[in-house]
């Protein structure tokens, strides 16, 4: 089974037509890969579907805007993969999961 990062990278490559080999764990989705907010909607949809989660994009955006978090925490791909792993773990730990 491929890693969370690999799954995200494949989604980004397919959704944004970015060569897969240029997408690294340390890549910043916005600053390095040039993904804009509209493309990120597509990516979020694909990630939500693939992992059965709902990424809290609005909460993350608010935290960045409020200075409580940096974009790197959510948009550097390895960090994004970690956040997704946390969301999947929380979903699996929830009652009725």
């Amino acid at each position: 089974m491929s890693s969370t990062f690999d799954q995200i990278a494949n989604i980004i490559a397919e959704t944004c037509d970015i060569p897969r080999d240029t997408i690294k764990p340390e890549s910043h989705a916005i600053d390095d890969l040039g993904i804009d907010s509209l493309d990120f909607l597509d990516i979020a949809f694909a990630i939500d579907k693939a992992f059965g989660i709902k990424m809290p994009l609005e909460k993350w955006t608010q935290e960045v805007n409020d200075g409580k978090a940096t974009t790197e925490q959510y948009f550097v791909l390895q960090n994004l993969a970690d956040r997704i792993d946390e969301l999947v773990a929380a979903k699996n730990a929830a009652p009725g999961a």
Binding site: L41, F45, D48, M55, L57, E58
Partner: protein, 157 residues
């Protein structure tokens, strides 16, 4: 349809919030200047208007699902397919289903039919934002009443 005002949906036939589906009717007018140019002697509904009709149908569904707390704005149209000509006077039945409700966005799939004939389909993504102002919200409430939006569906939980 009131093409001049871009009001493409005439009435909501069914809104099922449990299944997150909506069915609406849209009567293509028998005559309009659009048909004089699109096309002379061969009038058909432009595909962009069919796409907009699917988007508006989806929008009412999302408004219902979100209980009018957010306004959906068209962001992405994928796999838009115009499967057959839609001449003036056609009664379209459009169905939309919510495929995904994300954080700040929603995705629907919509289909438009004339009778049993599938005429158009698309996957549509919307950004969700607060109503820009109370006036806009009031306008949408008035539109909802006009097209028969079943307000009880979002108040009787």
């Amino acid at each position: 349809m009131d093409l001049d005002y871009f009001k493409l949906i005439d009435r909501i036939v069914d809104l099922n919030l449990d299944e997150k589906k909506i069915t609406v009717e849209a009567q293509v007018p028998a005559a309009h200047t659009i048909f004089e140019g699109h096309f002379p002697g061969f009038p058909i509904m432009p595909g962009v208007l069919l796409t907009e009709a699917m988007a508006q149908s989806s929008g009412w569904l999302i408004l219902g699902v979100m209980k009018f707390e957010r306004m959906p704005f068209l962001a992405i149209v994928k796999e838009a397919k115009m499967r057959g000509f839609v001449p003036p006077g056609t009664l379209l039945t459009i169905e939309a289903k919510l495929e995904h409700e994300g954080s700040g966005f929603a995705v629907t799939k919509a289909k438009g039919r004339a009778g049993k004939d599938l005429k158009c389909s698309a996957e549509i993504t919307f950004g969700l934002a607060p109503f820009p102002d109370a006036s806009m919200r009031g306008y949408m409430d008035a539109m909802a009443a006009k097209i028969g939006f079943p307000l009880q569906a979002i108040t009787n939980d």
